[in-house]
C-alpha cells in the first residue's frame, strides 16, 4: 500500500512539473527499437536521466540556454546533440544510436538494448543478440560456448547431435523453446546444431530457473530461440561456404504491403556439409592395428527449412496475427554411435516435417497483454541400418583375406528400417496483467501432445506377445501451467517474482510385458514453485537471487521400457532439482567501460533417472542418485574506446554424486563427461573507414576457449585429477585432455551496398579437440560468408 501511495505521489509530482522547461524524447537503436537504460546527460551539468523500457527520457527544470546533450548506451556509439532551449519551451527529440559493435564479437550482455529488460529481470537470463552478429560465420553452438556456465558439445560436425549443459545439468534436463513454445513440434528443424544464426533474432538462456511463460518441465534450464518481429521490415540474405564442402544459405525477409497492415515474411535456410574431416585414430584396418589418419566418410548432412508467414499487425483486433506454414527436410548420414571405434558406412536418418502455426498477440488493455500460439505438425522420420556390409575407417567395406566383401546380417549397428509417424499439437496461452507499477500477474498454460506409431520389419517382436512394440500406437500429453506474481518495491529497486507451476502428464504407451493390458495408461500431476528477487543498488549495480523447485517428468520409455530389453518401472518418480542462483552485476566505472558479473549457483538434483543394467540381459530406468552442483561463473567486459572490447568468461562447476543406490562407491565422485572448468576470452576491434575507404568497416575478432581435462567415466574422488593437475596412469585413457581452441575472423562491411564479407578460421592453432566421448573434432578449418542486409 505504501508503495502504491508513493507511486501516486510520484505521478502527481510528474504532472506538476510537466509544464516547465524540459527536454524529452526517445532513444532508439538503428532499427528504431527503443533502448532501455540509455544515459542522457547535459554536458557540464549534473542533469541527466536514463531511458525507460520505451526508450523515453525527460529532463526537467532546465534553464534556458545552449547545451550539449550526450546520449550514450553501452554497446552503442555515443552521440552528442546540440540544443538551444528557450524559457518554458518543451523540446522533444528522437535520437538514434548506432551500435558500436554491430558486427563485433559481443554476444552476451552487450549493453542496453531492447533485450535489456529480459537481462535485468530478477530471474537470470543470458541474452545473445544473434542477429547483431549475423555477418559472422560463427555457429550457434560456438556463440553459446562463449557464455559462462553453458557448454555445448556436438557429436561431430555441422548438424550432428548436440548436448547442452547449463550450470551442470544437461540432456533431458534442458528444454528448448522457440518464441516461448516447446520445440517438440518442430522436429529437428531448430536443433541448435543445425539452425543457422540468420534464423534467429536472439537466443535466451535460462539457467535453472524458468519464468512461467516457458511451459515445460525443464529441470536444469532452457534455451529460447527468439524469432524476428513480424511488424518490422527487413531483408537478410546470406551465403556461407566452408571447409568440408559446407554450404549454408539463409533467407530472412519481412515485407509490409504498402498502405496496409498486412505483412508477409519468409524464413528459410539450407544447410549441407560432407563433414569429412580427418583425424588420427588407433584402430585396426584389415587386421593391422596402428594409429591411422582417417577421414569421416559417411557424415554428410543436408537440411532445408522453408517457412512462409503472413498476417496483420497493428489492427484493432490484433497487435499481431500471423499464420505460418513451414516445411522441413533432413537427410543425414550417421558415421558413428557413441564411440568412435566403429565406423558406420550406410546408416542414414531422414525427417520430413510439415508445420502449421498461428500466433496472436494483443494488448487488450494498456496493461494487459495476451499472447496465444497454436501449432500442428506431422513428422515422418526414417532410420535405416540395413547394410549387408560393415566398414573399416578407410571407408572401404570389410573384406576377407581374399579381398571379397564380407556379407554381414544384422545391419551395422542395430538392424532397422524404422519409419515413425508422429502428429504433434501444441497450444500456449500467456497473459500478463499489470495491476499497477508495483504488481504484475502472469498466467501461462502450454499443452503439448503427440501421437506416434511406426513400423520396422527388423524389430524383434516382444517375446511374450509376438507384437513388435513400434507398431503399437502411443500418445503423450503434457500440460504445464503457471501463475506468476511480480512485485516491485522501493521505486523499483527491489523486485520480486514468485511463481507456482502445475505439471500434468497423460500417456498411453505399449507395455507388452503385461499380456492382459497391452496399453499402459499413466497419469502424473505435481507442483513446482520458484521465487526470485532483484535489488538494484543503482542504475548499473544490482544483485539477484532466484530459486526453483523444478521437475522433469519421465518420458514414456523410461516408464514402460522398450518392451524388449528395458523392463518397465511404473513406480518411477519424476526427477526433481532445487536450483539456486545468486548473482551480482555491476559496471565498475562511471564511464561504463568496465562491466563485471559474478554468479554462484547450486543444483540439488534428486531422484536422478538412469538406465541401470539389471543383469546380463535386461535393464531398467531407476531413480538412482542425488547429484549436487556447486559452481561459480564470472564475466568481465572491457570496452576500449568505442570500437574495441575484450571479454572474459570463466566457469567452475563442481558436479558430484552425493547419494547413489547403484554405485555407492562413487558417492562424492565427479559427474563424468561434463567439462567442469572452462574459460573464454574474446576480443574485437572495429576499423571505421580504414585506408581512406569511405562507408567501409572492418571488424577483426578472435575467441579463445579453454576447457580443462575431464573424465569420461566416474572414479572415486581420491583418484580424480585435480584442477590443472597430473593424471594417474591407470585412468589416463579415460581423460579427455585439456583443450585450447582459438577462432579468428575478419568482417568487411560495405555500408553503401550494404554487403559484408566474412572470413573465419576455426581452430587456428590446429589443436586436438574433442567433444562427447572423445569424438575428435576438426583441425584447422575455414568459413567464408557473404551477407546482404537491408
Amino acid at each position: 500500500m505504501k508503495n502504491g501511495l508513493a507511486l501516486f505521489f510520484l505521478m502527481i509530482t510528474t504532472n506538476f512539473v510537466m509544464s516547465q522547461t524540459k527536454v524529452s524524447g526517445t532513444v532508439l537503436d538503428a532499427e528504431g527499437i527503443p533502448l532501455l537504460g540509455a544515459t542522457v546527460q547535459l554536458r557540464g551539468t549534473q542533469i541527466g536521466a536514463v531511458t525507460d523500457e520505451n526508450g523515453l527520457f525527460e529532463l526537467k527544470n532546465l534553464k534556458a540556454g545552449g547545451y550539449q546533450l550526450i546520449v550514450s548506451s553501452l554497446g552503442y556509439q555515443t552521440r552528442t546533440v546540440p540544443l538551444n532551449i528557450s524559457r518554458n519551451q518543451a523540446v522533444s527529440l528522437e535520437i538514434k544510436l548506432r551500435e558500436s559493435n554491430q558486427e563485433l564479437n559481443e554476444v552476451v550482455l552487450e549493453g542496453k538494448s531492447n533485450e535489456q529488460r529480459k537481462r535485468e529481470e530478477p530471474i537470470k537470463i543470458e541474452v545473445i543478440g544473434v542477429s547483431k552478429i549475423l555477418e559472422q560465420s560463427t555457429s550457434v553452438p560456438e556463440l553459446i560456448n562463449q557464455t559462462s556456465g553453458v557448454k555445448v558439445r556436438q557429436s561431430s560436425g555441422i548438424g550432428s547431435n548436440t548436448t547442452i549443459n547449463i550450470n551442470g545439468l544437461q540432456g533431458n534436463a534442458v528444454r528448448f523453446f522457440r518464441d516461448g513454445v516447446p520445440t517438440d513440434y518442430l522436429g529437428r528443424a531448430f536443433n541448435i546444431g543445425l539452425v543457422p544464426t540468420g534464423s534467429i533474432q536472439n537466443l535466451e538462456i535460462y539457467k535453472g530457473v524458468l519464468p512461467v511463460e516457458l511451459g515445460a518441465d525443464a529441470l536444469g534450464g532452457a534455451i529460447n530461440l527468439v524469432s524476428r518481429r513480424k511488424d518490422k521490415e527487413y531483408l537478410d540474405l546470406s551465403y556461407e561456404a566452408g571447409s568440408f564442402n559446407t554450404h549454408i544459405i539463409n533467407v530472412g525477409a519481412n515485407v509490409i504491403i504498402p498502405n496496409t497492415k498486412i505483412h508477409v515474411g519468409v524464413n528459410s535456410y539450407y544447410t549441407s556439409s560432407d563433414n569429412d574431416y580427418e583425424f588420427d585414430l588407433e584402430t585396426s584396418i584389415n587386421g593391422v592395428t596402428d594409429v591411422f589418419t582417417v577421414n569421416r566418410f559417411h557424415d554428410a548432412i543436408a537440411a532445408s527449412y522453408f517457412e512462409l508467414n503472413a498476417g496483420v499487425h497493428g489492427t484493432k483486433f490484433a497487435d499481431v496475427l500471423d499464420f505460418s506454414f513451414a516445411y522441413f527436410t533432413l537427410d543425414n548420414e550417421v558415421q558413428n554411435g557413441i564411440s568412435i571405434d566403429q565406423p558406420l558406412g550406410e546408416v542414414t536418418e531422414e525427417e520430413i516435417n510439415r508445420i502449421f502455426s498461428v500466433s496472436y498477440k494483443k494488448n487488450i488493455l494498456p496493461n494487459w497483454n495476451l499472447d496465444i500460439f497454436g501449432a500442428l505438425s506431422k513428422v515422418n522420420s526414417k532410420e535405416q541400418d540395413v547394410a549387408t556390409n560393415t566398414f573399416e575407417w578407410d571407408g572401404d567395406v570389410q573384406r576377407d583375406f581374399n579381398g571379397n566383401p564380407i556379407v554381414t546380417p544384422g545391419g551395422e549397428f542395430v538392424q532397422r528400417d524404422q519409419r515413425i509417424e508422429e502428429e504433434s499439437k501444441v497450444a500456449r496461452v500467456f497473459t500478463k496483467y499489470d495491476l499497477n507499477d508495483a504488481l504484475r500477474i502472469n498466467l501461462s498454460s502450454t499443452y503439448n501432445s503427440f501421437d506416434r506409431v511406426g513400423s520396422d520389419p527388423f524389430q524383434i517382436p516382444n517375446v511374450a506377445t509376438g507384437i513388435q512394440p513400434i507398431t503399437v500406437p502411443s500418445t503423450y500429453t503434457k500440460i504445464i501451467s503457471g501463475l506468476g506474481v511480480g512485485l516491485s518495491f522501493f521505486e523499483g529497486r527491489l523486485q520480486s517474482e514468485s511463481f507456482v507451476k502445475n505439471y500434468y502428464l497423460e500417456t498411453e504407451a505399449p507395455n507388452l510385458g503385461f499380456t492382459e493390458n497391452l496399453i499402459e495408461e499413466l497419469f502424473f500431476r505435481d507442483f513446482g514453485w520458484g521465487q526470485s528477487f532483484k535489488y538494484a543498488f543503482d542504475d548499473d549495480t544490482y544483485a539477484r537471487i532466484s530459486f526453483e523447485d523444478a521437475i522433469r517428468i519421465p518420458d514414456a520409455e523410461e516408464y514402460v521400457g522398450d518392451n524388449l530389453f528395458i523392463q518397465p518401472n511404473l513406480g518411477l518418480l519424476p526427477e526433481r532439482s532445487e536450483n539456486l542462483n545468486v548473482g551480482f552485476t555491476s559496471n565498475l566505472n562511471r564511464a561504463r567501460t568496465l562491466f563485471t558479473e559474478v554468479n554462484v549457483f547450486y543444483r540439488n538434483n534428486r531422484d536422478f533417472i538412469q538406465l541401470v543394467p539389471l543383469n546380463l540381459i535386461t535393464s531398467e530406468y531407476q531413480n538412482t542418485d542425488r547429484q549436487e552442483v556447486i559452481g561459480v561463473e564470472g564475466n568481465i567486459r572491457i570496452n576500449i574506446g568505442e570500437n574495441s572490447s575484450i571479454r572474459g568468461a570463466v566457469t567452475f562447476q563442481d558436479l558430484r554424486t552425493r547419494e547413489s543406490e547403484v554405485n555407492p562407491n562413487l558417492i562424492d565422485a565427479r559427474t563424468p563427461n561434463i567439462p567442469y572448468y572452462f574459460t573464454n576470452i574474446s576480443a574485437n576491434k572495429e576499423f571505421a573507414s580504414p585506408f581512406g575507404l569511405k562507408k567501409t568497416r572492418f571488424n577483426l575478432y578472435g575467441n579463445y576457449l579453454y576447457t580443462e581435462q575431464y573424465l569420461v567415466t566416474p572414479v572415486i574422488r581420491d583418484l580424480e585429477p585435480s584442477l590443472f593437475g597430473s593424471v594417474p596412469n591407470n585412468i589416463r585413457d579415460f581423460v579427455i585432455p585439456t583443450q585450447h581452441q582459438v577462432n579468428m575472423g575478419l568482417t568487411c562491411t560495405l555500408e553503401s551496398l550494404p554487403v559484408s564479407f566474412n572470413l573465419e578460421v576455426i581452430n587456428v592453432l590446429n589443436e586436438l579437440l574433442f567433444d562427447d566421448f572423445r569424438i575428435p573434432k576438426p583441425l584447422r578449418n575455414y568459413r567464408f560468408k557473404i551477407t546482404y542486409r537491408l
Partner: protein, 416 residues
C-alpha cells in the same frame, strides 16, 4: 592500469592450465603366478578396475583402497582372463574390441603391453580368444574371416596367420536342411585348449544373426598342425559360453580331462526360452559324449530350475548359481531375489541347493569357479555396495565367507 591487470590475471589464470601425464613404467613379467580381480565400479557403463593381488585375495577388499595399483577398464562385465604371467582383456582400456595384454610393472601396477585390434563385426556367438601355449593363441575376427580362426603370439601380440576352416565348414553346410537361409558363418563364443586340441563353436547365421538350425557345432583344431580335426554336432542349439563372456565360466575341464560345455539359451527367439544345458566331451575325445548331458527343461532339477550360470567342475561335482524358480520365456523373473548356489552330481544329475550360501540377485556375471581347489560363489543382495565370495567345502557340505568386496561388483578373479 586496472583493466590491464584484470586482463592479465584472466589470461595468466587460463594459460597456467598445463596438464602432465605421469610417466609409465616399463612392464616386466613376474615369475610367480598372481591374481587379479575384476570389479565393476560403475554399473551404468560397465567400467571398473582390474586390481592385482599377490595371492588369492581374502578378507575384506575395499576397492577404493586398491585403486592405486588397479587399472581402469571399460566393459568389465565381460572380463578377460589370465595366462602365463599376463592378463588379456577383450578390449583396450577405452573399449575398442581386440585383445589387450596387461602386465604388472616393477611397482606392481598394471600397464598396457600390446594390443591386437579386431573389427567391430561380431556374429553368431561373438568374438573370443584363447591360448594353446605360451607362444600360440587363437582368436576370431569376423571382419577378417568368417570361416577361419586367427593365430597370434600372446607374448609378442602379433598376428601369425589363420586356421582355414572353410573346407570343413562347407562340408557341414551342404547337409543343413535350410542352408538357403544361411547369411553368414562365424566362429567364436568360447575357446579352450585341451591336450593339444583346441575347441571352439561354429555358427550358421540367418539374416537376423540367429542360428538357422537347432544344432550345436564345435570345431576341434589340432594345435600342432593348425588344421581342423573334427566338427562335432549336438542336436539342439546352444550358445556355449554365452557370447564370449569368459567370466560366466560355462566352459570347464575337470581333473580327469573331461570338457564340460554349458549354456542357458539357444536362439533368443527359441520358444523354449531359457534352458540350462551342459554337454560333455570326454578326455581324449573330439566328439560329444552322447550318453550324458544336463537339461533344465527336461526336469533334471528339483524345482524346475532352468536358468544357471557357471559350471566349475571338480571330483564329479559341478557348481553353479541357479535361479531357484523356473524362468519363463519372457525372462521376467530374472530380477527376482531367487539366486542360489547349487552343487550338481554329474552322475546322478541331482542338484542340491547349498543352504548356507545366502540368496542373492543375479547381477554379477561371474559364474562359480575353482580357486585354491575350492569352488567360489558370488553373492549380491540388498547390502548395497557390497558383494561376497563364498567358498564351498564338498566334504563337509558347508560354505564359508572368503572375500567381501566393498565398492563394486566383482566380475571375475583371474590367475596369471
Amino acid at each position: 592500469m586496472k583493466k590491464t591487470v584484470i586482463l592479465l590475471m584472466l589470461v595468466a589464470f587460463t594459460f597456467s592450465c598445463e596438464t602432465t601425464f605421469e610417466s609409465g613404467g616399463v612392464g616386466v613379467e613376474r615369475d610367480t603366478s598372481t591374481f587379479a580381480i575384476y570389479v565393476t565400479t560403475n554399473r551404468q557403463d560397465g567400467t571398473g578396475f582390474l586390481v592385482p593381488f599377490d595371492g588369492l585375495p581374502t578378507g575384506e577388499i575395499d576397492v577404493s583402497q586398491s585403486f592405486d595399483n588397479g587399472i581402469l577398464l571399460s566393459d568389465t562385465r565381460r572380463s578377460g582372463t589370465g595366462f602365463d604371467g599376463a592378463v588379456y582383456h577383450p578390449t583396450n582400456p577405452l573399449g575398442a574390441p581386440g585383445i589387450q595384454r596387461l602386465l604388472l610393472d616393477a611397482d606392481g601396477r598394471f600397464v598396457e603391453d600390446g594390443f591386437i585390434g579386431i573389427g567391430n563385426l561380431s556374429l553368431g556367438g561373438g568374438q573370443i580368444f584363447g591360448f594353446a601355449n605360451s607362444t600360440k593363441g587363437y582368436y576370431t575376427d569376423h571382419s577378417l574371416s568368417q570361416t577361419a580362426v586367427q593365430i597370434f603370439n600372446p607374448k609378442t601380440m602379433q598376428r601369425l596367420g589363420e586356421v582355414d576352416c572353410s573346407q570343413a565348414i562347407n562340408a557341414i553346410r551342404e547337409n543343413i536342411e535350410n542352408a538357403d537361409r544361411i547369411e553368414s558363418t562365424s566362429i567364436g563364443g568360447f575357446m579352450i585348449e585341451r591336450d593339444g586340441k583346441f575347441f571352439t563353436q561354429l555358427f550358421f547365421n540367418d539374416e537376423n544373426d540367429f542360428q538357422v538350425d537347432d544344432k550345436t557345432y564345435v570345431i576341434v583344431i589340432d594345435v600342432a598342425t593348425d588344421t581342423v580335426e573334427n566338427i562335432t554336432v549336438w542336436d539342439d542349439h546352444l550358445k556355449i559360453g554365452y557370447f564370449s563372456f569368459i567370466n560366466v565360466n560355462y566352459v570347464n575341464i575337470d581333473e580327469k580331462g573331461d570338457l564340460y560345455l554349458g549354456s542357458f539359451i539357444g536362439n533368443f527367439t527359441d520358444p523354449e526360452g531359457p534352458n540350462f544345458r551342459v554337454l560333455r566331451i570326454r578326455q581324449g575325445q573330439t566328439e560329444f559324449d552322447r550318453t550324458w548331458d544336463l537339461n533344465g527343461k527336461r526336469g533334471d532339477f528339483p524345482n524346475g530350475e532352468n536358468f544357471a550360470l557357471g559350471g566349475a567342475v571338480r571330483n564329479g561335482k559341478m557348481y553353479v548359481k541357479m535361479m531357484g524358480i523356473p524362468i519363463d520365456p519372457t525372462f521376467a523373473a530374472l530380477g527376482e531375489k531367487e539366486y542360489y548356489g547349487y552343487v550338481i552330481d554329474l552322475d546322478s544329475r541331482n542338484a542340491t541347493r547349498i543352504e548356507d550360501i545366502p540368496v542373492g540377485y543375479w547381477r554379477s556375471i561371474h559364474g562359480p569357479a575353482i580357486y585354491g581347489g575350492k569352488p567360489y560363489f558370488v553373492v549380491e543382495n540388498d547390502d548395497a555396495g557390497k558383494a561376497f565370495y563364498y567358498s564351498y567345502d564338498a566334504d563337509s557340505g558347508t560354505s564359508q565367507l572368503e572375500i567381501t568386496i566393498i565398492g563394486g561388483q566383482p566380475q571375475n578373479i583371474v590367475e596369471f
